[in-house]
């Protein structure tokens, strides 16, 4: 298994209402060990997976949002967020968690993992993938 493929994980559902966001994240963490080219797309209600201030304690559920912050440690550095989906929900980049990774080629400077892209840009990125996984 020496070949490298481009894997994109498409997230279109809000967290907590269903298990998809959590179990999708679990796949991403495992996938990181396979040294493939991994990116995440947040579209439609999926943008709510990485908004700040999540607190599901009263639901009796685990707050897994902090795990997105750890993705950089797994070399998952490309989190694309569709701008139109944010705007349609009255959200902006300021509402998202400041997810970063450490760039080993730049003295471990912290750099943002989240990139806002237009729908057209996201479509082009998606078109370049080998495997698109949605949950």
């Amino acid at each position: 298994m020496s070949q490298t493929k481009q894997f994109m994980y498409v997230n279109r559902k809000a967290p907590y209402g269903t298990v998809y966001a959590l179990e999708s994240l679990e796949v991403v963490l495992i996938a990181a060990a396979f040294e493939q080219d991994v990116s995440l797309a947040f579209i439609d209600d999926g943008v709510y997976q990485i908004v700040r201030g999540q607190s599901p304690k009263a639901l009796g559920m685990k707050n897994f949002s902090a795990t997105y912050n750890a993705l950089g440690d797994y070399d998952v550095r490309k989190l694309y967020v569709e701008r139109e989906s944010l705007e349609a929900r009255g959200l902006s980049a300021d509402d998202l968690m400041p997810i970063v990774y450490e760039d080993e080629d730049d003295d471990y400077a912290e750099k943002p993992s989240v990139q806002l892209v237009s729908r057209a840009e996201m479509a082009a990125i998606m078109a370049g993938q080998d495997v698109v996984l949605s949950f």
Binding site: K5, F7, E23, I30, A33, F34, V131, L133, S134, F135
Partner: protein, 130 residues
């Protein structure tokens, strides 16, 4: 063409397991290879041998087992999703100190890496879910 199929929903609740099964049969009929079917989320419930649907309904779990027996299709249930939902093979039941196992013939329990491997090794990865 070599396929991996991901099934994200359980049987009966949603059509996705039926569609996945029909697709797998159609692909095999055309001479394609199903490298693996990976069951995730509630999809792990496709692998229980303790389901007893009414006689006049289809029996999806058995149909998957037959697909494995007839075509050697690798049916893999995600261990993390299975543990959450009480789907066990004998080894796992013993390890967890449980009094029973319920996995259907032809299925095996393994890690999420099997899904990623399917994506790497196959020409196409198809997702069926809700």
């Amino acid at each position: 063409m070599k396929y991996t199929i991901l099934v994200n929903e359980g049987p009966y609740q949603h059509q996705s397991a039926d569609t996945a099964l029909q697709f797998a049969r159609a692909a095999l009929a055309q001479g394609h290879e199903i490298f693996r079917v990976f069951f995730y989320h509630d999809g792990v419930n496709n692998g229980t041998r303790l389901a007893v649907p009414p006689k006049d309904d289809r029996m999806l779990q058995k149909e998957w087992s037959e697909l494995a027996a007839q075509h050697g299709v690798d049916l893999v249930i995600c261990i993390a999703a299975a543990q959450r939902r009480g789907l066990m093979d004998a080894d796992e039941a013993r390890r967890q100190g449980l009094d029973a196992d319920n996995i259907a013939p032809g299925f095996r329990i393994s890690g999420l890496g099997q899904l990623i491997e399917g994506g790497i090794e196959s020409d196409r990865l198809l997702v069926f879910g809700d």
